[in-house]
Symmetry: C2
Subunit: 221 residues, 2 copies
């Protein structure tokens, strides 16, 4: 995934991505207080890029900044359920639009992603499965042809990342999920927007059931 528009990746951008990832996968706990000084020591940079990253994370409601520092915000079962309700209503739209607008080059990359997912699902590598699952969905957002829809779906997708990791650790669900992705992929490849939308809505509903079942039984971590 090269940097085609020749935009320099600044330290602030790197800090943002690393920090966001650490929070989203749960490496920083909910309620944990992050200070700029501690973070600047941890990342080996000054406070300036740390601050910019924190401001962006605050805007996404991933942290809350006060005079004492930045508090990591958690996510409740109700939030997860809300997010899946929202996604079930609009993620199908992204698949539909991608089916109608995508070109062959992007479809080739799309195929590589799902082939990799199949490979790791056969191996039962949960971390890799989760990453490929993410790439599959993000690919749809990026290639649906609407920045607004992509900007809408991506934050929702990010917020449930930690829980999807748990879900795909179940080999049965991982294989189901792969089959559903394969169906969506084929519909998009055939430029059948209506089918792609329908299958995506079903896929989101299944993912929701799988994740909510686990979250509710575990009483959240």
């Amino acid at each position: 995934m090269m940097n085609l528009d020749h935009k320099t990746v600044s330290i602030a951008d790197q800090v943002f991505e690393r920090l966001e990832r650490k929070i989203l996968i749960g490496e920083y706990q909910r309620g944990e207080l992050l200070t700029e000084i501690k973070l600047s020591e941890e990342f080996g940079v000054s406070r300036t890029p740390i601050r910019e990253a924190l401001r962006r994370l605050e805007q996404e409601h991933i942290i809350d900044i006060t005079a004492r520092g930045a508090t990591v915000l958690g996510i409740l079962p109700q939030d997860i359920d809300d997010i899946y309700e929202i996604r079930s209503r609009i993620e199908g739209l992204a698949s539909r639009w991608m089916a109608e607008r995508v070109n062959e080059e992007d479809m080739a990359e799309f195929r590589r992603v799902i082939d990799l997912q199949e490979f790791y699902t056969a191996k039962g590598d949960a971390d890799q499965i989760k990453d490929m699952d993410s790439r599959f969905h993000r690919m749809i957002y990026e290639k649906c042809g609407s920045v607004s829809l992509s900007d809408t779906l991506l934050p929702l997708h990010k917020r449930v990342m930690k829980f999807r990791r748990v879900s795909v650790s179940d080999q049965t669900r991982a294989e189901e999920s792969l089959a559903e992705h394969r169906g969506i992929f084929e519909a998009i490849a055939a430029h059948d927007g209506a089918l792609a939308e329908k299958l995506t809505v079903q896929h989101i509903a299944h993912a929701r059931d799988s994740i909510m079942g686990r979250v509710l039984s575990e009483k959240e971590g």
Copy 2:
């Protein structure tokens, strides 16, 4: 609207709000190059708070930052249409949830907003009508009880602000819009979630028709 959680409003926050507003209402033109130095002189502050504001605007895809400065990104008719398609699918959900969860105190404020909208609509004051229209929709986002849904809808709403101003300049549409808001308000007040959702979906569809009709005939500014 008091600051209940005692959080200081920093200069950076103020700059962000003023800058965002200026871009969203069209005071800075699409393609215009904003430099940190020019902005810091214009706002009378150092580059630091300007930078933080610009980073947040970049995250919302309102500007694009390069080594030359920040370019104001425009919005195409296709984007507006996409946004209304997305909103038509999820904004009704916000009304439904608000109907099911809202308390009496918030409803009293909600009533004041729509009463003001009625007042300004009778006067034909387009700027005030647009502001009350915004407050009506934002109130639903804030009181629907889901941060995720609010975070999802608010950016979409902001992006079409400039065009709604044009739409409500038409007195007939302004009165229609008021009547539709009144219907949604009554449904929420009666805690009738299904009706609130249905009326909201219709309202979004009408707003879309009104705005797209104008945008397409004007060939965009």
